[in-house]
């Protein structure tokens, strides 16, 4: 891939000043994502995941400087639902805690900033979602413009299908290529323990044409947790920290009709500001709940053919809402910690048709 920064049309990039502190992912854990976790509460879903992440870092609950979570009341169907999940954190003596009402990737961003400022040396970031509680296609329609769009109840698959058709009309992909994305994702996922469904699945009938069941993410319950640490603390807690070299997030206009649905300029700008284009990456964990969105993201990020895309299987294999983006960062970090990647890009999205996008660049120490 090109080593030059963003395209000429971009505003001239402000060179990012080197971060005052180095911050790394030192631990990552996730649940065994499933279709339905009706037998357990959110706190019960989270507990083993938090214990796993803290255990990897060799930390106990009281030793974390800052805690930040991502979740959504609309998934739970209850106001202030994140407060109940706090039971699984261990909040006595009082802790420094925050919450974002979106994907946990944005909670990680907040924690990263907190560590960069020097206010904290370690952070616990977690996210969870029980999509099984409601009809997630309808639930997501409540995040749309309440005057012009939400009264029509367009569901999340319908909006993604409009985007996919625009992409097909533009000649950027076709249904066979989309089926290929689905097949590759689910084959990769079968190698790991966290995906659902496991193994190859039939591409299936249209849900909303041109998207078939195989083009859509499985309804998933799950949770994830990441431990961040700064500088020497990270080196002490982890033998190969996944250093966050840069991170940025951008958003686009809310109204779908004013956006170019075939492109993701916010992803490209976030990537540029995160330093993604400074050197090639070898791995990209892309938060693309729909096959067509992977095509858009690959183009927006100008990923070369040799880049390993979603070795975890991505959101097509498991889509624990509000945790899926955080899982992408965790999976990219895991590849680095295991030595399978030297420089990885992680992406998270939120909102209809890739409205908001976050990009993080992670690297291991040279070996």
């Amino acid at each position: 891939m090109s080593a030059t920064p963003g395209p000429a049309e971009m505003p001239s990039p402000v060179p990012a000043a080197p971060p005052a502190r180095e911050v790394a992912v030192v631990a990552f854990a996730q649940s065994r994502h499933t279709r339905d976790t009706a037998e357990i509460s959110e706190a019960e879903l989270l507990l083993p995941v938090l214990q796993d992440a803290l255990g990897q870092a060799g930390l106990r609950a009281g030793e974390i400087d800052f805690t930040c979570s991502g979740s959504s009341d609309y998934l739970a169907g209850r106001a202030f639902s994140f407060t109940m999940a706090l039971d699984s954190v261990g909040a006595w003596p009082p802790i420094a805690e925050s919450h974002v009402e979106t994907d946990g990737a944005w909670a990680l961003y907040e924690a990263w900033v907190k560590l960069l400022t020097g206010d904290a040396g370690t952070a616990l970031v977690y996210a969870y979602g029980k999509s099984s509680s409601g009809e997630v296609r309808d639930v997501l329609s409540r995040q749309l413009d309440p005057y012009y769009v939400a009264p029509l109840w367009p569901d999340s698959v319908a909006l993604a299908a409009l985007q996919a058709q625009a992409l097909i009309d533009a000649g950027a992909t076709d249904e066979a290529a989309l089926a290929g994305v689905a097949a590759r994702s689910r084959a990769d996922a079968a190698a790991g323990p966290h995906a659902r469904p496991t193994g190859p699945v039939p591409h299936g009938p249209y849900v909303v044409r041109p998207l078939r069941t195989g083009d859509c993410p499985p309804v998933t319950d799950g949770a994830a947790a990441v431990v961040l640490a700064a500088g020497d603390t990270a080196r002490r807690l982890c033998d190969r920290p996944a250093w966050i070299r840069g991170m940025d997030h951008r958003t686009e206009a809310h109204a779908l009709g004013v956006r170019d649905l075939t492109d993701s300029p916010s992803t490209r700008l976030a990537a540029e500001r995160a330093g993604a284009f400074e050197r090639p990456v070898d791995t990209a964990e892309l938060h693309a709940p729909f096959t067509s969105q992977e095509v858009i993201l690959r183009r927006a990020l100008r990923l070369a053919d040799g880049v390993r895309i979603n070795p975890s299987g991505g959101a097509l294999a498991a889509n624990p809402m509000m945790a899926t983006g955080l899982v992408r960062i965790g999976e990219a970090a895991r590849r680095i910690r295991e030595g399978a990647s030297r420089r990885a890009l992680a992406h998270a999205t939120s909102g209809p048709c890739l409205q908001q996008n976050l990009v993080a660049v992670l690297e291991g120490d040279p070996r």
């Binding site: 037998e39 609950a61 169907g77 409540r142 939400a150 009309d169 075939t262």
Partner: protein, 371 residues
């Protein structure tokens, strides 16, 4: 109390969250929605000359305030579509239909709505459509019942300046808000490019945007948007055990393996230590009032005479106070340390209230940690 064995099945129950959201409208939204009631579609012109339909009050690219209303056509062109074989609750049509983004004639951006068409083979990007108005219109986006195919011809200018750009395919057209004309050209279906796909423009039918005051008699200033979501609430293992025991008029807490405290009601985790609680412990039925308040205002639909007392009650054996109403004693005689017991009503799944047991008051030292 001895630990209790046995794990009842996890409970679940339907939960409906329903709200009639009442929203006020700004000047632009008010004009647009009132216009729909009057079968007039309004857009707003940005300072760089683009016409946004539906209109917004602030430019999505520059965030400039914009108020320059124009009237656009009720016919337009599909810029992308998706066939919906199984309509869901609340969607515009109950029979299979296409979701469409439609660029109305005179507009530079597209409106989301439904297209009533015979089947997916009857829909394509670039097809001409027109508004089908709802019979009863109130000033809402649903005043457009849907779109329907329209054979009357193309918009003026459809084949002129835009078509020059159609071949550019610049994937980087746009920053945080894509210029609409570029994006629209990218949305044109590739196979149609360069073909004589559009009939000659029928300029008489197409509309250029016409300035509009936005003023109507009896303007719509607000909308009521009902929202309903259906959930299945599942309280999880710990709370299921608690509720199942309560149905037998027993109160069950869980002990933290680390700090040994007994939590009632339990939620499966020790909120202090952040570890799972598994050992179940029966507590109560009697308890001690640790603190209380006197309620003087009657809540809507509440069949309890005011004033009454609401209290924190530490059940015997519990390390966390739960809250309940105190009855069977004048409100001004309730006190910290009062010993109470639950009162059950027939068929009730939880105590209706707590009343004095007649025991001597508890020593302050015995419950001060629970306040």
């Amino acid at each position: 109390m001895p630990p209790i064995s046995g794990t009842p099945e996890a409970l679940s129950a339907p939960l409906v969250v329903e709200f009639p959201f009442t929203r006020s409208l700004g000047p632009v939204q008010s004009a647009f929605l009132t216009g729909l009631r009057e079968r007039t579609v309004l857009g707003v012109r940005t300072t760089d000359g683009r016409v946004l339909v539906p209109p917004v009050e602030y430019d999505p690219v520059t965030a400039e305030e914009i108020r320059d209303l124009v009237e656009v056509g009720t016919t337009g062109t599909v810029t992308t579509w998706a066939w919906n074989p199984a309509p869901r609750r609340g969607q515009p049509l109950a029979t299979p239909f296409a979701w469409v983004l439609v660029r109305l004639d005179g507009a530079d951006t597209a409106l989301l709505h439904a297209l009533d068409a015979a089947g997916p083979d009857a829909v394509r990007t670039g097809m001409r459509v027109r508004v089908r108005w709802a019979g009863e219109r109130t000033g809402a986006i649903t005043d457009i019942a849907c779109f329907e195919p329209y054979e009357g011809g193309a918009a003026a200018g459809e084949t002129t300046p835009h078509s020059d750009e159609a071949g550019e395919q610049n994937p980087h057209s746009g920053e945080t808000g894509a210029p609409a004309r570029h994006s629209d050209s990218i949305r044109e279906p590739a196979p149609h490019r360069g073909e004589t796909r559009e009939p000659a423009p029928h300029r008489g039918e197409a509309r250029e945007p016409v300035p509009h005051s936005g003023e109507f008699a009896d303007p719509v200033t607000g909308i009521t948007a009902p929202a309903r979501l259906d959930y299945t609430y599942a309280p999880g293992r710990a709370q299921s055990r608690y509720l199942a025991a309560l149905a037998e008029r027993r109160t069950v807490g869980e002990r933290c393996p680390s700090c040994r405290k007994v939590y009632v009601p339990p939620r499966g985790a020790c909120p202090t230590c952040g570890v799972a609680t598994r050992d179940q412990v029966e507590v109560g039925p009697n308890g001690t009032v640790t603190t209380f308040c006197i309620v003087n205002i009657k809540a809507k639909n509440l069949d309890i005479e005011v004033p009454y007392v609401y209290a924190h009650i530490a059940l015997d054996g519990a390390d966390l106070a739960l809250h309940a109403r105190i009855g069977g004693i004048p409100y001004d005689e309730v006190r910290m340390g009062l010993r109470v017991e639950p009162v059950w009503r027939d068929g009730s799944r939880y105590p209706d209230h707590y009343r004095p047991t007649g025991e001597p008051d508890a020593d302050y030292d015995s419950y001060k940690e629970l306040i």
